[in-house]
Subunit: 391 residues, 2 copies
């Protein structure tokens, strides 16, 4: 009887799996069979969690007292995040607006569940982080994707947002640094987008999960000029805590009580060991480790960017943050999925096809992650170059 | 500008906060002011996480390698859960159908998101676990609550399900042992309910999160007689891992791929430290600790049940599992919320008003949790008795 076709909620049809997961699974198969694979597909720092955070996690586990925290998070962690905004960004964010979540994923779910109902539209860039459109579809909203390219550094502009705002539009999502392009949105553009949304009674959701990983300018936060935006952040990327699953949401004050209600019901609370580990995230000795890693990411970018251009990839906009390079491969292939697959099978290099980030020119793009040491990246580039010469 | 009224998705209006949270917050205030409070409101075991699980968590943290696991969970944990079903329940559950989640909350979200679309109905008992109806409302479905009482041990019956099944009904949720009443659903009733749902093209979601905590008979699982039900389970209650946030879903085989897609997008993965800690959950030395605690819970129930009856609470059905007693307080008060509040303020005992579990006779009921040692429970009963005498 269980072999009947599943009877699914209609929303499932609109939610795509990650294509990169298929490639990753195939890469693991090849590795299990003895092949060497260079991984440039994974959006996860290769660094272990810094020791001070591990120590803090171990200390709470040593007590065995791993009980639920309040739904909005440990008060002392919410206060630590507020202090970080003050010290690092010179902006006052009351801890009462900070909601600790199970990864940035938990923060996105809370924000979108609070704002988006069936049929509501959400403006977002294509290419963009794949889960964004799927969170909107989970809530039976409509992801209204706007094609962006090199001319706007793969970011939405205020003009795009104003002209695409529709009757059903309820929110606009932006990301800075962005995934897959690693580009920043200028503060002025973000301020204008917030004003446009505000004037129309809508909301802005700003993904700042790669905020700590910027290589030229100092990072800014949307919170420095607006207190009515939803800001998503994470302990995964800059803080190297991916598997702990911890992030946070800064919500406008009038929304906090309603979001608490949702958090109580959907999550009960975020992970207790993770929250205690994160209490050590802002300690000077942790930040010293993280800043050294930021310098290493920058060096990797500075190595990989010219190397990829050299072998034929088009990268018209230099990424300024995150750990990705979004590259036009149309000089090399007109089918980025087939190209990624062939690269894996024939050259042992795993990258992510453009299709994971949207539909806009997806067949002509691929994403490289520099979440590996430079010698590994160099080996990857060498293999790709040889692969291209053989064709 | 942020002080404008929030513009919320309509679903938020239907999602209630936990009333007990207000009482808990007030209890903490009273404690901070020096009052002694007996907590009988919290649905969380008072035991620390067993040492072997803490050790396993500490070992993985020691490596610093806290990376994402696959979206469905660590393969070796999924296999360990499958082995547990075989060894403890004598039922074959392929590990491919086991999805590791962030608490039972994550499992409920996945199951309901996969099954329930806007306007779809879900049958459930009132009183019942408060989040169930809120998960359904989160997905813009309709919680179709059926009043149950002592005559059916606070459980749905096949007749109720058959007669309340409507055009829009897509699923029925049951729990055994139940919350708040701690009662079991007879296997035959569950089998019949599964058949009724199956014949109508609907699904059954079975909450088995208190499965390990049963005090008379051996526990059974719905998986022993149906492979097309969704089973929710948790490491929180029997395994004492609340704050780690880890649970699991057993899905019918044809749904697994679609649920994986959802899990990839909504969660990425469950907590890595928690999954490694849970690998030690089924070790003989852990189970020995847990079985001793089960005996302790049983002793507490056996103390508290007659003690509460003695002082005037109506408990027509003895709870057989979980760590709750659902009591009729109508001989003492016709407003269980005011009664709970007065009990806290005047006697220093925190309990949960019926309103948290639904609307059916909620004003005449309260829930006691025996998540405290017998001397503490005895002190609570003494205070309640004195409070009643004073009135």
């Amino acid at each position: 009887m269980s072999e009947q076709a599943p009877r699914l909620a209609r929303r499932l049809a609109g939610i795509a799996p990650f294509h990169v997961m298929e490639l990753l699974a195939r890469a693991r198969e090849l590795e299990a069979a003895g092949r060497s694979i260079v991984h440039m597909e994974i959006g996860e720092p290769d660094f272990p969690t810094p020791r001070p955070m591990c120590d803090a996690g171990q200390r709470i586990i040593e007590t065995g007292e791993l009980f639920y925290t309040p739904a909005l998070g440990l008060p002392q962690l919410r206060e630590a995040i507020a202090r970080f905004y003050l010290e690092r960004h010179d902006v006052v964010v009351p801890s009462s607006r900070i909601i600790v979540t199970a990864g940035a994923s938990g923060a996105l779910l809370l924000a979108i569940a609070a704002l988006i109902g069936p049929g509501d539209g959400v403006l977002m860039a294509d290419p963009g982080y794949p889960c964004n459109r799927n969170f909107v579809r989970l809530m039976d909203g409509m992801a209204d994707e706007i094609a962006v390219g090199a001319d706007t550094a793969y970011q939405l502009t205020p003009d795009m947002v104003a002209s695409r705002w529709r009757e059903n539009t309820r929110a606009v999502m932006v990301a800075s640094p962005s995934n897959p392009a690693g580009t920043l949105m200028p503060a002025a553009a973000l301020r204008d987008i917030a004003a446009i949304a505000r004037a129309r009674g809508g909301s802005v959701i700003v993904d700042e999960i790669y905020q700590g990983l910027v290589y030229e300018n100092e990072t800014t936060t949307a919170l420095s000029f607006a207190d009515d935006v939803f800001v998503i952040n994470s302990f995964s990327k800059y803080f190297n805590m991916t598997g702990w699953r911890l992030g946070w949401l800064v919500a406008p004050a009038p929304y906090v009580r309603e979001i608490e209600k949702l958090a109580q019901n959907i999550f009960l609370a975020a992970s207790t060991p993770a929250q205690h580990a994160a209490l050590a995230a802002f300690a000077p000795e942790t930040l010293e480790i993280l800043e050294a890693r930021r310098a290493e990411f920058r060096a990797r970018r500075d190595f990989l960017l010219p190397a990829l251009r050299e072998i034929g990839f088009g990268i018209p906009v230099a990424p300024q943050g995150a750990f990705y390079i979004y590259a036009d491969c149309s000089e090399l292939s007109d089918d980025s999925f087939a190209f990624s697959r062939a690269l894996l099978e024939e050259a042992g290099v795993a990258i992510t096809p453009g299709a994971d980030f949207g539909a806009n020119a997806a067949g002509r793009h691929v994403r490289f992650a520099y979440t590996n040491a430079i010698p590994v990246l160099a080996e990857g580039v060498k293999r790709i170059a040889e692969f291209l010469r053989r064709r």
